[in-house]
């Protein structure tokens, strides 16, 4: 029996086999969507570049050489050099580590936090709902960047504090999303049925309601990644995120804006990196939406 036949067996003999079969179908659905594959490849490349940065970079990203400042792209400096003579290609390669760190940390904080608050508010209702949603409203009332700025200023500059500041400002839409999803599912018969089985509220929340909200939160999170990268860059530009000389893409764009007309590559190259990675996350988000819904199969 081939592996494929085993995975797609009509009558799986064990739960493991059934789960692997579902995972295979999910992967197949993702791979059959060409745009999602492009997104997946971009994110995969980002991870590879970040992991293998020392062997991919051609120069030391921090090495300054004023004699070689603002050189156009050439065989020696693939993407040119910046105002301090540093190799832009190497800086972008090392910058992918920062980008990936920011993206992962924000996702890990924002997703579960927003999900938990939204699901609890939606399921509990009453006073709990009102208190949690008013807190959410307070956070939503401020423009995201301004609030992140305030937090970053209060916590001090640095990439970790920037992540915390972004996370604090980014969770409310997720709480709203999860709450709305919970409210539509709460009254359905299958929730009544599991409550009738004697399930505790915790079991209903974790096992039955949260899985229904996860996919929309994951999709939204992937689609939001571009914005998160940009806010991180904005904080870096204002001196409240990644600090020089760390090769954060947003900060690199900001530092290149003085030379935009004559030395276009200084700002453009990291800008392209941001654009490509954001696009990758967007495409992946779209693909995931199809995969995470077993009804689509």
């Amino acid at each position: 029996m081939t592996v494929k036949a085993w995975l797609l067996a009509d009558t799986p003999r064990s739960r493991t086999q059934a789960r692997l079969g579902q995972a295979y179908l999910g992967l197949a659905a993702l791979v059959s969507n060409p745009l999602a594959v492009i997104g997946l490849i971009i994110i995969g490349l980002l991870v590879v570049v970040a992991v293998l940065a020392p062997s991919i970079a051609t120069h030391d990203p921090y090495l300054q050489n004023l004699a070689l400042r603002l050189k156009p792209p050439s065989a020696e400096f693939w993407l040119g050099t910046d105002a301090l003579g540093r190799d832009i290609w190497s800086r972008i390669v090392y910058g992918s580590r920062l980008t990936l760190t920011i993206v992962c940390l924000v996702a890990v904080i924002v997703g579960p936090l927003g999900l938990a608050i939204g699901v609890i508010a939606g399921y509990a209702g009453g006073v709990t709902d009102r208190v949690l949603m008013r807190i959410t409203d307070i956070f939503m009332a401020f423009p995201r960047l301004i609030l992140a700025l305030a937090f970053a200023a209060a916590l001090g500059a640095g990439i970790e504090n920037a992540v915390i500041a972004i996370a604090i400002t980014a969770w409310p839409p997720y709480a709203r999303l999860a709450r709305a999803e919970t409210l539509t599912r709460k009254g359905s018969d299958f929730i009544a049925a599991i409550r009738l089985q004697g399930a505790s509220p915790l079991r209903v929340l974790i096992g039955h309601i949260t899985p229904l909200c996860v996919s929309s939160v994951v999709v939204r999170l992937t689609l939001d990644m571009a914005g998160i990268i940009l806010i991180a860059a904005g904080l870096g530009f204002l001196g409240l995120g990644a600090r020089p000389p760390s090769p954060e893409w947003g900060a690199m764009v900001a530092s290149g804006r003085d030379y935009l007309i004559d030395q276009w590559w200084v700002a453009t190259m990291p800008g392209i990196a941001i654009f490509v990675v954001s696009l990758g996350f967007n495409l992946l988000g779209d693909g995931l939406r199809d995969v995470l819904d077993p009804k689509m199969r």
């Binding site: 009509d10 009558t11 799986p12 739960r15 059934a18 079969g21 359905s188 018969d189 299958f190 009544a192 049925a193 599991i194 409550r195 009738l196 089985q197 004697g198 399930a199 079991r203 096992g207 039955h208 899985p211 229904l212 077993p294 009804k295």
Partner: protein, 249 residues
């Protein structure tokens, strides 16, 4: 086994159930018949604690039911919902759906129970790892019945278990329910708008109209067409099919 005394349920300002009283003995099959909106499903939901009651008492096995239901209650009483498309979790496999009651009540040998329950309702093991959306309405309702019986309850509350199914499947599901009751000595409370279904499944029934129980009679009374109230006679005539004279009423 179940005593409902002067039960009232209020939705906002409307009284959905008004002082309904009935008793169901152990092993009996009791029917609640009425038009939609007559409050029959609400009585079931009140029994299970899904809606709050405005007055009256409900007694199960000599124990009054309060606002909270104990874990033991859920072992004894289970329910089958009307709409098999809405009563199964869309992201859970049949296996997961049937395993949950075992996990909640800490039952032993969950795998065998799942396979046994599937077998009991006439679904093979091939259905075990399917999702609800891969099943037909009748198959889904069988899964819902399997879920209700897997923890071996004594009482099944059936809320229009066949009205969402097409006619040929209805008979199959009703026969399945009748067989399960015979085999396991279950007590049924069956809610239906269909007098024929209730007459087929139940020994006794109550007729409801606008939140009130207007009459209680036995299936034998029904077969002899001995109804005490005008409303029941109207329902009986309606169940015989379309009648132009009745439609103009």
């Amino acid at each position: 086994m179940i005593t409902v005394d002067r039960l009232s349920v209020r939705f906002g300002s409307a009284l959905a159930v008004r002082e309904a009283s009935f008793e169901v003995a152990k092993g009996e099959s009791f029917g609640l018949v009425g038009e939609s909106g007559s409050g029959k499903s609400t009585i079931l939901r009140a029994l299970t604690g899904l809606v709050d009651i405005a007055g009256g008492t409900m007694i199960l096995d000599g124990e009054a039911l309060g606002t909270k239901r104990s874990r033991r209650f859920h072992r004894v009483v289970q329910m089958v919902f009307q709409d098999p498309y809405g009563s199964l979790h869309p992201r859970h496999t049949i296996d997961r759906i049937l395993s949950e009651p075992c996990a909640i009540h800490g039952l032993d040998r969950p795998e065998q129970r799942v396979l046994g329950a599937l077998d009991d309702v006439g679904l093979g093991p091939s259905f075990r790892f399917r999702y609800p959306h891969q099943l037909s309405g009748g198959q889904r309702q069988r899964v819902a019945i399997a879920r209700a019986i897997i923890a071996e309850p004594q009482i099944l509350l059936l809320d229009e278990p066949t009205s969402a199914l097409d006619v040929s499947i209805q008979a199959e599901v009703l026969n399945l329910l009748a067989r399960l009751r015979r085999q396991r000595g279950l007590t049924y409370i069956l809610v239906s708008h269909n007098l024929a279904v209730v007459a087929h499944m139940c020994e006794r029934l109550a007729v409801m109209n606008r939140g009130e129980i207007v009459e209680q009679l036995t299936a034998a009374d029904l077969h002899r067409r001995e109804a005490g109230t005008e409303y029941t006679r109207l329902l009986m005539r309606a169940s015989e099919g379309y009648d132009p004279a009745l439609a103009s009423l």
